[in-house]
């Protein structure tokens, strides 16, 4: 079999080193010219190996002479090339997108990134790997794919919100090309803002995140959009039941620069129009997303890219109210190679999330606007002094402003405008992390992140509270005056040890700190959810997690087994006091309670990565609890997302050349819920009596999704796939929520009513490419 590497290989000779050992460095990209992060590179004869960084840059130490280099970019299979080295050499490698079986070279990939990568609880995949998985209404959604992994729980039926290892939904740092996304959901949470066409790959850190990341307790979800093809123009698109997508990519200057523009628009309200019920058909529900990215290679050592995203949701119930929200993100990245030992990445990013909610009635006409805005800069220096150390040093600074909710009204309404003051804060971070390879079997990543967070004064009031939560003192600070600064050191440590060529063990400890809190009281993502920064009273949330795992590759990397255990404690967790009126203008701090949390569990994942039949089985056994004085008589209670058992089975089967069949099944213990233990009458109505928080369980959740996809056109210039799917194929009525009502048929009887959302949701979609 012929060598699979394409001719996109550029060899550049660099300054010769004195020793017999030389460095082979370069970029690993797809044949389209897109960088492939974290690909593994290995010299077959010598056994030396390296992993590329996030920007696809690798450095492999080699002795003088001929080598066979094997490159494994996840999703691209293993590809090899011959290289002869007698000086430090720069070699950029473009991997063919067509999966190739490895030919004459037999590789025992003992140092695959899965085994030796020291970070625990790390998942990465390319979007194209998830292409065939069933998707609700045919909308591929990366956040829902993540929910099929152990340790990641869905926020609810059909919801793109997620919980990682017992953390709440706001404890996930979601980055799109480095810019934070404050609300990653469309349409009450049923879709995510990530348009699958625009996304290249996704990394999720649910265990020990390296010191490069911080700001949230539970996880980091780092999403990168595609750079665009720098060779030729391509158009991708899709027509589905609820949306249409179109992407265009191509070179600006061939080999040097590229662009990608991708858009998606939904038309859910078209379906509402089909209803004869005027209560339904007069409503509006739609959203759009636009992603754009431009990348330039300036010479051999510089790469600049500009990425932007804009999305907007509109939801209006005629005559009642309308809600609109959206994210706008932008970022500029500059990647520079000083030498094969020093690389820098510098980025500036901007994020703006805003929502407005309005009501229009005869006598009331009112709008509330709220916003969170964020401008940040980051620089990272990656220094590879030798083949045993790779040091990351960086710093970042973010300036953030939060507008909590301005009320405005039009004529006719007797409404006073209230201008809630904007709160400003600054968050700085410095970090250093070293990936150290002390021996052939060991890899250790250790570092520390130092964060300084300051809340600034201005027009807003700050308070002193007594233990009952009543305001005892109100304070004013000048603009730009620092009200309170929190400095925290976050040590991170993880290590892997290779037991034998096919298996390894890892362990890690990490501390994470979060200074931005989403105060949410509804059980689903709601427009009234509110981001607040730490203040003199709201303290930073802190989590400590230890985790350990066992990893095994079987059958020449066909099978992958991962088992991890973790224990996590959380401090300064926030919840509302009972009966808090979240929208009044009282001091927010007086409406909150603070406590602690703990989460522990075991996660197992068995993956089959190769062959016609691929997929995985995941199982999680876990516990998540909170203890907050003032709730549940100050005793520990189950967090809402505490689910004892969680199982996911994901399969994909290639049936001949044309068809691909896929199915996924999930099962989990019902959410912890609070149910009444009694009832009584007040003001001629039933009021319920509660004795404990989250003491009951919803019925268990399970669901099967299936899909079949066929290549209907496979021409050289035009390719088209048709996908059929059914979400919740056996029509399980899963409990989304429970409520209680007085029976109409049996007077005096209180009925428990289960609300279910999605039952047999069929879909058909067509994707094309030319």
């Amino acid at each position: 079999m012929k060598c699979c590497l394409l001719a996109v290989i550029v060899m550049v000779t660099l300054q010769a080193a004195a020793q017999k050992q030389y460095l082979l460095t370069g970029l690993i990209t797809s044949e389209k010219g897109e960088t492939l992060p974290y690909a593994s590179v290995k010299a077959m004869e010598q056994g030396a190996a390296a992993t590329a960084d996030k920007n696809g840059y690798y450095a492999l130490p080699l002795t003088q002479g001929k080598h066979t280099i094997a490159v494994d970019g996840t999703g691209y299979g293993l590809q090899t090339l011959e290289v002869e080295i007698d000086k430090d050499t720069r070699l950029n490698v473009g991997l063919s997108e067509v999966p190739n079986e490895l030919g004459r070279v037999t590789v025992k990939s003992t140092r695959g990134s899965h085994l030796m990568q020291p970070v625990t609880g790390y998942e990465k995949f390319l979007l194209k790997d998830t292409r065939n998985l069933p998707a609700m209404l045919g909308e591929r959604d990366i956040l829902k794919t993540l929910q099929l992994l152990p340790g990641v729980k869905s926020a609810g039926d059909g919801n793109s919100g997620f919980y990682v290892r017992g953390g709440s939904a706001d404890q996930n740092l979601v980055l799109l090309d480095g810019a934070p996304v404050y609300n990653a959901s469309h349409f009450m949470g049923f879709f995510s803002v990530f348009n699958a066409d625009a996304i290249k790959e996704v990394s999720l850190y649910k265990g020990s995140m390296p010191a490069q990341y911080g700001g949230r307790l539970s996880s980091v979800l780092d999403i990168s959009t595609s750079d665009g093809d720098n060779q030729s123009w391509k158009v991708n698109g899709g027509i589905g039941l609820i949306s249409t997508r179109l992407s265009v990519e191509g070179p600006i200057t061939k080999d040097k620069s590229s662009f990608l523009i991708s858009g998606r628009r939904t038309y859910v309200d078209m379906f509402l129009k089909l209803s004869k019920d005027s209560a339904i058909n007069s409503n509006k529900m739609n959203f759009y997303d636009v992603n754009a990215k431009f990348s330039w290679s300036l010479g051999k050592n510089d790469k600049i890219s500009v990425a932007a995203y804009s999305g907007h949701d509109l939801l209006s119930l005629s005559g009642l109210f309308n809600i609109a929200w959206g994210n706008r993100l932008g970022s500029v990245h500059w990647n520079h190679h000083f030498s094969n030992k020093l690389v820098t990445n510098t980025a500036v990013s901007y994020s703006n999330f805003n929502y407005t909610a309005g009501v229009a009635q005869t006598n009331y006409n009112i709008n509330i606007a709220s916003r969170i805005k964020d401008l940040s800069g980051k620089t990272e220096w990656i220094f590879t002094p030798d083949n045993r150390n790779k040091i990351y040093i960086g710093g970042s600074s973010a300036f953030r402003s939060i507008l909590p909710g301005n009320v405005q009204s039009l004529q006719k309404s007797a409404i006073n405008k209230t201008n809630q003051p904007i709160r400003h804060s600054v968050e700085n971070a410095l970090y250093v992390n070293n990936e150290w390879t002390p021996g052939d079997k060991w890899q250790i990543s250790y570092g520390v992140r130092l964060t300084g967070f300051s809340i600034l004064g201005g027009r807003g009031d700050f308070y002193q509270l007594n233990p009952q939560g009543h305001v005892t003192d109100t304070m004013r600070y000048g603009t730009r005056e620092v009200v309170k600064t929190y400095i925290n050191a976050e040590p991170r440590l993880s290590a892997s040890f290779q037991l034998n060529p096919g298996s390894s063990v890892k362990a890690s400890y990490s501390r994470t700190v979060q200074n931005l809190h989403l105060i949410a009281s509804a059980t689903a993502s709601s427009p009234t959810d509110r981001w607040v920064a730490s203040t003199n009273i709201i303290r930073p949330e802190i989590a400590d997690q230890v985790s350990a795992g066992y990893y095994k590759n079987l059958g020449n990397n066909t099978w992958q087994l991962t088992t991890e255990v973790y224990y996590k404690t959380m401090q300064n967790q926030i919840d509302y006091r009972n009966g808090a009126d979240i929208l009044d203008n009282q001091a927010l701090e007086s409406k909150l309670l603070y406590g602690k949390g703990r989460a522990y569990g075991i996660e197992t994942l068995v993956k089959k990565k190769k062959g016609k039949f691929t997929g995985w089985v995941g199982y999680t056994l876990s516990k998540t609890e909170r203890q907050i004085d003032g709730i549940n008589n100050n005793q520990w209670y189950n967090a809402r997302q505490d689910r004892t058992h969680e199982v996911s089975v994901v399969t994909n089967y290639e049936l001949g050349q044309r068809w691909s069949l896929s199915a996924s099944w999930v099962f989990y213990t019902g959410n912890a819920v609070t149910l009444p233990a009694g009832k009584y009458i007040i003001n001629n109505r039933v009021v319920y009596y509660y004795t404990e928080r989250n003491g009951y369980r919803m019925p268990a959740y399970h669901r099967l999704d299936v899909s079949a996809s066929a290549h209907i056109i496979r021409k050289k210039r035009l390719k088209a796939d048709l996908t059929f799917g059914v979400y919740n194929a056996y029509g399980r009525e899963n409990a989304y929520s429970l409520f209680f009502r007085q029976s109409k048929t049996t007077p005096g009887k209180t009925e428990a009513i289960q609300v279910s959302l999605f039952k047999y949701v069929p879909s058909i979609s067509c994707d094309f490419k030319f």
Binding site: N283, N683, F739
Partner: protein, 269 residues
């Protein structure tokens, strides 16, 4: 708090209502030991009433489990205690006129348990009118009662509205504050928020007699009604359930409210 902002809560609910299916399920409820429930009211018209009852199991047929043998007194600050008479099982009353601006103390002694509460009767805000308008709500036209009043500037005011349709109390809680309309002439619509469980909803029809009682209430009572509505009504699928925030001391459920009361009636034409 003004009504439209609160409506935001109903939004996910309404959306879910549009696409969901519902079915009654059996739940094996825990049965907590019964606790005392006290609903105490004193207004400026001479109506002073205290209901003393016990909570019951969720699966029992809903009933008012009145408690006799309670000794109930209401005391004006600096005044003498006034005893309430038992009228029927669990119902204690007295003709006793409260005065705005005064604080009242309730004491209920039942089988060795003492429950107390204190509440200040706020100044009266005049109820200027009651009108019926039709509003388009999710595409359908509905009658809505609107209360007119001039909110006094310079102080925080809280209101409770009790709507009765053809002499039947609807059971829906309508409370308002003056957060965003302080000092203005307010027209407050008693708009049903569209919960899933419409156990207590009542649609107004042509020819109906709609009566609204407007109460000026103490902030602690506003908090009570707000929390009943938000977290103890059993009907809001989004809220975290909890017992309402009470002003009663001693471990009883319920509230003690000293409020001004005014009534207006209108026939829907």
């Amino acid at each position: 708090m003004i009504f439209p902002l609160k409506k935001l809560w109903a939004l996910p609910t309404l959306f879910c209502a549009a696409i969901s299916c519902r079915k009654a399920i059996d739940i094996d409820f825990e049965n907590a030991a019964p606790v005392y429930v006290i609903e105490g009211k004193i207004d400026n018209n001479g109506y002073c009433s205290v209901l003393v009852s016990l909570s019951q199991n969720v699966s029992d047929a809903t009933a008012f489990i009145g408690v006799d043998s309670a000794s109930v007194t209401v005391t004006e600050e600096g005044g003498a205690a006034v005893s309430l008479r038992r009228i029927s099982k669990g119902v204690y009353q007295q003709t006793y006129k409260g005065v705005p601006g005064k604080t009242y103390n309730l004491a209920v002694n039942v089988k060795g348990n003492l429950f107390t509460a204190s509440c200040k009767m706020p100044a009266k805000v005049n109820m200027d009118g009651l009108t019926i308008t039709t509003e388009s709500i999710s595409g359908s036209r509905r009658y809505v009662a609107n209360v007119q009043y001039a909110d006094p500037a310079g102080e925080a005011n809280y209101y409770n509205f009790v709507q009765t349709i053809n002499r039947k109390k609807a059971g829906i809680v309508y409370v308002a504050d003056d957060r965003i309309n302080n000092g203005t002439a307010v027209t407050y619509p008693l708009l049903y928020e569209g919960n899933f469980a419409d156990s207590y909803s009542a649609e107004i029809k042509k020819g109906d007699t709609v009566q609204v009682e407007m109460q000026s209430i103490d902030p602690v009572i506003y908090k009570y009604w707000y929390s009943v509505k938000a977290s103890a009504s059993g009907e809001d699928i989004m809220a975290t359930p909890a017992n309402p925030v009470t002003n009663l001391q001693g471990g009883a459920l319920g509230y003690f409210s000293a409020h001004t009361a005014q009534y207006k009636k209108v026939v829907v034409k």
